[in-house]
Symmetry: C2
Subunit: 388 residues, 2 copies
């Protein structure tokens, strides 16, 4: 019987209640819910073996009615002050782990501003937006095995790089190491085939922040014609707290006008576009404010597209939005855009930067509107660059 | 104490001994070794819980010394006629299952003939081979969750297709459904980073035949700039028997001359190029004989490239070669090449075909040289097309 204190301005209030996998020294990783500056240990608070697991997969696979039920139980426990004392752990005492086992990882390219900027930078002599871009949410599969949790260091990758003025490629550490600030969505309930936009919330459990680390020099040399591979596959970081879709009702908004009108299978009765504000901090200096609400394609459209060919979905499938960039320069979610290919360095206090240097740290945070003026926090995803 | 009969010309002789996952009616799936027309049930013949598993992953993770040990035990058991009678099951009585849980799936593009042919077909106004192609084994990540075992039906995918003379895309069943005849390799022992070509056989357990079903119309519209996605992600079939690398020593050969010389990290002391002959049968008619020995990049070079950026590897990582095509027309491993984009139909007895029709069946078989004139069979990978 314990009342849990919470700061008045916490982004982890009663309307959020995100899930994660945590441990304390000498204990096994297990499922917790964040409330304020505490973690509620669900393995101690609720009688369900799903919560003694070291991943959210088992719980996520149960489906929406169970997600609602547990959310209501946790809410009631907090409100009534009946959380068992032994189930309350300070966030400062926990280590967070990868919240789910990633099945397949798909990365989209759903920001018109980002796709246009990258088109100008990678293909300066052509139309920035390719002919297919407004007809379908372009995506590729990434490496599921190198998705890591926030806080994991990222070693600068080596690979083949060839500048346009070089005759042949050389091997060595990437000289243009970058980030991509994205939102990611995780499938809970598997499917044997297409998931229509209106079935989105029956299958998708929640959302995390994603940093899709990118080695631009490796990517530029390798990516034609089969897409990005080693320029991305060394590491992708995600935030440790999975915010359930159930907490994002107030964040729902509309996509920008989609013209041409998407084909039937991409139409939503009510859009899952989301009003999420991100901030990107580079060595402690906020350099960008990417607005997720500016994304051209909604996450429900992304999943509908990814499965319309009959591809099955598994619990733990992660799909990310692609870099979130808004129309303004200080809304660009990748440094290659922010510094225009390295031509326009950004100031970090007394320092300037174009791409990432060894020892640099990037922290991407996000939050969304909740009920009654509250904010729903996603926490942050952070990573520091180690030398090659 | 049982001697096992075997046909004199069997490609599953004492020098092969591939592993698979099988079941008989009413029993759980478990590990078997194929010998002639029988399966030796390792869960009954050897005292090791790894063999009661419904995937090869646990055994594959043990590493090369254990792989050698078990191979020697099975060989001794067969040669000495001491296989327990209850461990011998006729292949005609078993159902084969997916042999391993696929972690990440990567598909290469390692045939110069295939890449050149596809370049001519997809980009008729440009150089067929792109500038990076002879410097690195180009690859992309595919969908691990839709890798299926031989025999699984393949439903014709729907998706967006736009012919060059159409103003905008339409949605519907693929009209250019194709195959890609490939060889695939599976990682047994995980790695924290780069796997050099000379470490290949410490990490890679064995090989399977792969059919990378491809919807060419969907692929052509979607693949720029991030590579193939829905044109491939609906299904990839693999053969049920994993031939261990230990059985492929006599199949080792050299790659074609690689010019320019590959960068240091791609050089092999002794090549893992393999002399494997494939046949592609379409509705019972053999239409192609793709020679794996013609591949430009060896599988050890592929894995070295895929991990040189520091990407970790997991047990069950599957990487495939990409379509195997030789220099001759009857050596092309994809129908888009064989029929030159549909312009030159092939004869199947009284029928002709350009792309796959509903009800068509494709069977890809493969074998390699073994000791003393024997052949090492991979069996086959088969699939039938269901209507959309």
């Amino acid at each position: 019987m314990t009342h849990i204190d919470i700061p008045a301005d916490s982004e982890f209030g009663i309307d959020n209640l995100p899930y994660g996998i945590f441990s304390t020294p000498g204990t096994d990783a297990r499922v917790g819910v964040r409330y304020g500056n505490n973690v509620i240990d669900l393995s101690a608070a609720l009688n369900d073996p799903d919560f003694s697991s070291s991943s959210l997969n088992a719980f996520m696979a149960r489906g929406r009615s169970r997600w609602v039920e547990v959310r209501e139980s946790v809410t009631a426990m907090i409100v009534s002050g009946t959380t068992p004392a032994e189930a309350i752990v300070s966030v400062s005492d926990v280590t967070m782990h990868l919240p789910f086992e990633v099945a397949d990882y798909v990365d989209f390219y759903a920001s018109e501003h980002h796709a246009s900027n990258l088109g100008r930078l990678f293909r300066p002599d052509a139309e920035p937006l390719l002919p297919n871009w407004k007809h379908l949410p372009v995506a590729y599969h990434g490496r599921a095995g190198t998705v890591v949790v926030s806080g994991a260091d990222v070693r600068r990758p080596c690979g083949q790089r060839k500048a346009p003025d070089e005759a042949s490629p050389t091997f060595g550490p990437s000289r243009r190491l970058d980030i991509e600030a994205e939102m990611g969505f995780v499938v809970g309930v598997p499917a044997d085939g297409p998931i229509s936009p209106d079935e989105f919330s029956e299958h998708v459990f929640g959302a995390v922040i994603v940093n899709d680390w990118s080695a631009r020099d490796i990517q530029a040399w390798e990516y034609v014609p089969l897409g990005p591979n080693l320029g991305k596959s060394f590491a992708t970081s995600i935030s440790p707290w999975v915010v359930p879709l159930l907490a994002l009702e107030q964040a729902r908004t509309s996509t920008p006008v989609q013209d041409p009108e998407p084909l039937e299978y991409l139409r939503e009765s009510r859009s899952w576009a989301l009003d999420i504000d991100l901030t990107v901090a580079w060595n402690g200096h906020v350099v960008s404010h990417p607005p997720y609400s500016a994304m051209y394609w909604s996450p429900a459209q992304m999943l509908a597209h990814e499965t319309v060919n009959g591809a099955t979905s598994r619990t733990g499938d992660l799909f990310a939005s692609g870099t979130i960039s808004g129309p303004e320069k200080n809304q660009r979610g990748a440094f290659i855009e922010l510094t225009w290919g390295g031509a326009e360095p950004v100031s970090l206090g007394a320092d300037t930067r174009t791409f990432l240097e060894d020892g640099d740290e990037v922290v991407i945070a996000a939050s969304a509107p909740g009920p009654n003026g509250s904010r729903i926090g996603f926490g942050d995803v952070r990573g520091r660059i180690l030398s090659a």
